[in-house]
Structures are given as structure tokens and as C-alpha cells.
């Protein structure tokens, strides 16, 4: 974990706001339009895992980066309410990010 911590930081540190939200397709599309960064940039090619996601949030907080939260994907949740075979229920990953950032001012 410690070795991985510096991976991607050099390219991650100097850019625009960090974009988070539910459904990474939305998050990446929005970040592309506003010049923001997402966990994808920080991962720098590494395979996504929940521990790395937690580390990403910790890094963002430690660097006091500005965060823009584009919120839940209500369309996806609605699909799932109508038919559980489609869409997704509220994301536990995004929920964890929100929880970790409750006391974060930026």
C-alpha cells in the first residue's frame, strides 16, 4: 500500500478540481468537460480496488484539493427500483466517499 501511495501523485497533484459522484461514466464525462480530475488519473493504470479508492479519498483530503461532487445517479437508481435486473442500487463506493468527506471543507 505504501509503495502504491506515491504512484500517480506527480501527475495528479497540479491539475483542476477533483470530481466525484455516483457512476464513473458520468464522473469521467463531467471531468473531461470542466478540466477536472478523477480517481482514474490518480490510479494511473492500476486496477481499481476498494482499498485504493479509500486511499484516493485520503490523498485528496491530505492535499486539501477542491472537490466537486456531481451527486447520485438518480436515473440509474430509478431503473433499479423499476426492475432490479437493470440499473444499480445506491453505490456503496460513492456512499463511502461521501461519508469520508462529511467533515471536509473544500
Amino acid at each position: 500500500m505504501g509503495v502504491n501511495s506515491d504512484f500517480g501523485r506527480s501527475t495528479f497533484a497540479a491539475k483542476g478540481p477533483v470530481i466525484i459522484g455516483e457512476n464513473m461514466n458520468r464522473v469521467n464525462a463531467y471531468a473531461g468537460k470542466v478540466g477536472g480530475e478523477t480517481i482514474d488519473g490518480w490510479l494511473a493504470g492500476r486496477k481499481w480496488t476498494q482499498p485504493l479508492n479509500d486511499e484516493f479519498v485520503a490523498t485528496v483530503k491530505a492535499q486539501e484539493r477542491q472537490i466537486q461532487d456531481i451527486g447520485p445517479d438518480f436515473g440509474r437508481r430509478l431503473q433499479n427500483r423499476i426492475d432490479p435486473s437493470l440499473g444499480r442500487p445506491p453505490s456503496s463506493v460513492y456512499g463511502g466517499e461521501r461519508q469520508s468527506l462529511l467533515d471536509y471543507g473544500n
Binding site: 463531467y30 468537460k33 480517481i39 482514474d40 436515473g75 426492475d83 444499480r88 463506493v93 460513492y94
Partner: protein
Amino acid sequence: MEANVNLCSIMETSNSFTSERASIRAGFPVSTLEPEQPMSDEPITSDEFRSEVEEAASILRQHGFQHIPQFDSESPTTASVVYVGRNIAFTFTLDIRDQGIDLVVTQYCDGKLMANLDGGYSSSLFTHLLKHCGFRGRPIPSASLPSTASKAKRMLSALMNLLAQPCSASLLADRPDSLSQKPPEIR
């Protein structure tokens, strides 16, 4: 020992006969019964996602839509596969973090995908059909899917069944005005 083997084979035959009788009583031919196993819910990788989409998207190819790999994207948290026609593109998306699969319909113009943020139009297929085409049903996976089919396969099958609905005909027709359909009036 030999007697035991014979006894076992008799019991197997007997069990098989019993289950055959049960299936006949239930109205199902024996050959179509699937073993009772839980649906696979293993996380899908982007490579598996691409392979599943290739298999599922035959209805799009039948209507002249083509997979254009140059529009596909891949990142540590997402993957997408894009089929384009003359005026409309269909993008299969995978959110790796939440294992969410969706099908997004997007305006396609002059060789470019024109999403909402680009001044065009894009929407989840399901939402588009609800808002603009009067769809009030539910997406249902194909009845031919075995009960053991993966969640990804079932999601893709349900999405493809949405395309087979009459209200999707205008999208598959791929006309310039296919995306500007007004919602039906409620009387």
C-alpha cells in the same frame, strides 16, 4: 463391491426417474430443465464486458449499426463499446466500481458523438423510452437465458429486449429526427 455399484446405479436410475416424473408433472420436458444453481454474480472485467456486448448486440448489427472501436473507451473504472448508425449511436457502458451496465443513446452527427454536454443529446435508453416514447413496461431478460446466466448477461439481455419493443422502432430506424420524438399526450 460389485453389489454396491449396482445398488448405486439403481438408486441413480431411480432418482433420475423420480425427477423425470416430477418434471413431467410440472409441465416441463426433462431436456429443458436447468440444474438449480444460483445466478453468477462475479464482478465482470472490461474484457469480459466487451465480449458479452459483442454477443448481445446482434439486433443493432441487424439494423445497420456498426461497432466503431475508435469511439470505445477504457479506464481503470469504466469501459464503453460504441455502435453507430447514420444519426444515432448506442454506447454500452460499464461502471467497474459498482458493476453497473447501461445502454446510452446519443446523437451522432458528422462522425462525432454529440452528448448533452456537447450541445447534442444523450440519455440512458430506458429513460429515453420512458420520457419520449411512451414506454411503460419493464425490461425483461430473454426467457431463453439459463437461470445460471451472469448478472451482466441478464442486464445486457434486458437492454436488448428494450430495443425489441415497438417503441424502440424509431431509434432503430436511425432517422435524423429519431431522437426528437415528442412524448405521447396523456388523455
